[in-house]
């Protein structure tokens, strides 16, 4: 086989293109990961600002289906039980409760100086439509368990 400088250059260019494509793919992957993290931090910030400005905190909730029922568990530590206001609609549940500021202050310590957290307020869409007239709830410590029959 004879020495062909054009073929050598062509091979070099092909290798370079391949490497560039690989680098581009890696860069793209890194960028996506980075942007994902940035977006996550952005959401944390937005949520924190919302709480800071409104003085309202969305309680953590766990919603799942159990046979013909939808179960909504809402964690309301520090809430004044007597102020619990639960509304069950066909497609969502709303929960409002005043916070015991002494408890919040004890939990947050010094950081609470900059906050005015007064209320829990959460609106949760349900995975299935329910019949609100069947809704029952019980409070176990700082956990509110709501149970409503699905509507067929």
């Amino acid at each position: 086989m004879s020495w062909d400088p054009f073929k050598i250059i062509e091979d070099m260019l092909r290798n370079m293109r391949k490497r560039m494509q690989e680098t581009e793919r890696l860069m793209d992957e890194m960028l996506q990961n980075f942007l994902g993290s940035e977006r996550t931090y952005e959401r944390f910030y937005e949520k924190a600002m919302e709480t800071l400005k409104s003085g309202k905190e969305e309680p953590l909730a766990s919603i799942y289906e159990e046979g013909e029922y939808v179960i909504i568990a809402v964690s309301v530590p520090g809430a004044k039980r007597e102020t619990l206001d639960i509304k069950v609609f066909e497609d969502k549940v709303e929960i409002i409760a005043s916070l015991d500021t002494r408890k919040v202050s004890r939990a947050w310590g010094y950081s609470y100086r900059h906050l005015t957290l007064r209320e829990y307020r959460g609106l949760y869409p349900l995975p299935s439509r329910v019949d609100p007239s069947t809704a029952r709830y019980e409070v176990k410590g700082d956990l509110v368990l709501i149970r409503a029959k699905k509507k067929y």
Binding site: F44, L60, S62, S75, P77, G78, K140
Partner: protein, 258 residues
Amino acid sequence: MKRVIVEEEINGFEFREFEEFGRPKYLILGLPDVGLVGTISAAHLVRTLNLNDVVGVESYTFLPPVVVISNGEPKYPMRIYSNGEIAILVTDVPVNTPGIAPLASAIVEYARRKGVDLIISVTGLGSPRRLKGGSPSVYWLVSDPETEKFAKEIKGIEKLNEGILVGPYAIILKEAARRYIRNLVIMVESYPEFPDPEAAAEAVKIFSKISNIEIDISKLLEEAETIKLRLNSLMKETKETLARMGKGFEYRPPLIYS
């Protein structure tokens, strides 16, 4: 802020030592995960055993630019507390997805270099059954036969026979096996989406049995409501990062069954 005396860089994470780290027997990991079980139990151990932070873990690539202020002193958001015998890693910020693999592998390598005997990963096993009350079951997973023999001796804890583990503890387990370091994963049944101090108390009880150190959990249970209130935001952030790392896989059975 404490002065750094020694610094080690592993996988983009810097382990900045403020004091002689020594050769602790146990390294307990309290990374935020399901029910914040590890985080809560690690924080309780740090308080109860009155440990000092001796290492700050930093990454300007994988961790947000944060200092945590405690009693007027700025601290690293991720740090290791130790008394020379027991070391505990805690973090005030959840680790983001791109940082999980490098961090998990860096922790194992750091533990290997420091001659840690056993890495104990503490995590929650999300179960709606917890919402119905009752005390949570505790399971274990190990990296090697020697630790398996050890885990079988612990009363009140059983082997997790089937399931999927997702997140930093999965990588730590694999890396520990690869680097010949013993790793015990303690998995406590917990609320899937709420901080669970009661589940954390179970993990502390197990560690008490392992180390033969009496650890009071009454304060942890008494202050459960305060802890939940304090950790509400961290739980929300953790939920989001867990979703991004594919935590959903844990709630389905594995392909091959026995």
